[in-house]
């Protein structure tokens, strides 16, 4: 848990602080390139697997509480979350297994593939922001955990993205800047979801379901396949099962 000094008395400030922190930490993913080296693929894969485990755990916690508050609303919300992520995949034409490695639009259009990758990440970041916001609505502990899980995801994503951008001739500084910039929807949507919380209280189970569905589907369609491509399946299996298992065991700690 964060030190007392890192918890603001005004709840909305906590949302701002932790969602911005999660987005800003993406800069860590650009660091290895700024230092003149490229990380080994195994590191990128390990980061994806770690984020996958944490996000699956976060999705489980959000879904559990959503089902508590309204079973069918949470289920419907989960379906919408899956559909949203699915739509982002098809909209950007990046529904092949490893978009970062092979960023070519399948519809044959001449849209710039790099900007499509960026757009897709931006669309994901919006859903991730909602996840932070609704988690904060439930309680601070869960909100901080979801923000940290997404920070881990942002770092791994920034590693992969910088790898792609630098290989296409971008400078490390520009790559890092872009990696942070695409996460800006996170704090914006986190604040919006949190601020709208009291107004849309009846929608809480549905929005918890939405966040859980979007996170889980993102993990299954992006993070896990990417992790397998970058590192051994044993490492992925160990990382995902131990992190997700730990989060589920700590359920009563996070949900109180």
């Amino acid at each position: 848990m964060p030190a007392r000094a890192m918890i603001a008395s005004e709840p909305v400030l906590n949302v701002l602080i932790y969602s911005t922190l999660a987005a800003a930490l993406a800069a860590l993913g650009g660091l290895p390139f700024a230092l003149g080296g490229a990380p080994r693929p195994a590191w990128i894969g390990g980061a994806s697997a770690l984020a996958a485990g944490l996000m699956l755990g976060a999705g489980y916690l959000l879904m559990e509480r959503g089902l508590d508050l309204g079973t069918w609303a949470a289920v419907a919300g989960g379906g919408v979350g899956v559909l949203y992520t699915l739509a982002a995949r098809f909209f950007t034409g990046l529904h092949d297994p490893h978009p970062a490695e092979n960023p070519s639009p399948e519809d044959g259009s001449d849209r710039d593939p790099t900007s499509l990758v960026l757009l897709q990440h931006g669309l994901h970041a919006a859903a991730e922001g909602v996840a932070i916001g609704v988690a904060m609505t439930l309680n601070l502990r869960l909100g901080v955990f979801v923000a940290l899980a997404l920070a881990a995801h942002n770092v791994g994503e920034a590693l992969a993205l910088s790898d792609l951008l630098v290989s296409r001739g971008a400078s490390a500084g520009r790559a890092t800047g872009l990696a942070v910039a695409i996460n800006l929807p996170q704090p914006v949507l986190a604040l919006a979801a949190f601020a709208l919380g009291p107004v849309l209280a009846g929608f809480l189970p549905a929005s918890l379901g939405f966040a859980a569905g979007a996170l889980a589907f993102l993990v299954l369609t992006e993070l896990v396949p990417e992790a397998y491509a970058q590192t051994g399946k044993g490492a992925v299996a160990l990382m995902v099962s131990s992190t997700a298992g730990t989060v589920i065991l700590l359920e009563s700690f996070f949900l109180g």
């Binding site: 299954l220 397998y228 099962s241 298992g245």
Partner: protein, 244 residues
């Protein structure tokens, strides 16, 4: 404690085991065995097993967190060790050879061992009061069907017959009645072991999913297809365990 009660528990356990065989039914309609079918079958089995593991971990945590963790680590170790033992050996399973046969053996081992823990869970909960016994039996029986589905989803696309799918599904649940009886009679002795067993089953299942089933699914099908076919059964399992 009467013999009648013991017989009741055994029969209840046996009925729940037989229900597992029903999971093979949807595979009667499976015609061609393309790589895509394999990917979808693996994905369905993964979703069902992940959903089951979530339930096992929550239940284990209710009995004790540390034993669940230890059990989980042992479960992971079991799959790693099992995989190593089978590596480089010529394995047959009926008409199935090679890597497919190894996967079949591993999933049967995992699901059968997991039934030991479930059997203990049944016995312990029966000890808690017989008024709920019929309801618990029904719940477990229904809950076993997706487990048969998961087993059949691994066996059938690799060439096993429908009868074999149903037979092995039932086989995998036979430890349930066998363990339910002693757990019912000696509740106090079995209760402390339960979280280890639940953790073991969850660890073995999750590791099996991410080490054996999902990599093969992504190799044979697109990430979108696999993602959808994992999340649907996963959501159904979580919902199902809640409503039951």
């Amino acid at each position: 404690m009467t013999w009648g009660a013991v017989l009741w528990v055994f029969t209840a356990g046996l009925v729940t085991a037989l229900a597992t065989g029903l999971g093979a039914i949807p595979f009667a309609f499976l015609q061609e065995l393309s790589p895509r079918t394999l990917a979808i079958s693996n994905a369905i089995a993964s979703g069902l097993m992940l959903g089951a593991s979530v339930g096992l971990v929550s239940e284990g945590a209710a009995y004790g967190t540390a034993p669940t963790v230890v059990g989980g680590a042992l479960g992971v170790g079991f799959i790693v060790l099992g995989g190593r033992l089978l590596e480089g050996r010529e394995v047959h399973f009926g008409k199935v050879h090679g890597a497919g046969a190894k996967k079949i053996l591993l999933i049967l081992a995992v699901m059968t061992l997991h039934s030991f823990s479930e059997g203990v869970a049944v016995g312990v909960s029966f000890g808690g009061g017989q008024a709920l016994a019929a309801l618990i039996t029904l719940a477990i029986a229904v809950h076993n069907i997706p487990e048969g589905l998961a087993i059949s989803a691994v066996l059938r696309p690799r060439g096993s017959s429908l009868t074999a799918c149903a037979g092995w599904s039932i086989f995998s649940s036979l430890p349930q009645p066998l363990m339910a009886v002693p757990a019912f009679v000696f509740v106090e002795a079995f209760q402390p072991v339960l979280p280890y067993g639940l953790g073991f089953a969850a660890g073995a299942m999750v590791f099996m999913v991410f080490f054996e089933l999902l990599p093969e699914a992504y190799e044979n099908g697109g990430a979108t297809t696999v993602g959808l076919w994992v999340s649907l059964p996963l959501a159904a399992m979580i919902l199902f365990q809640r409503l039951l």
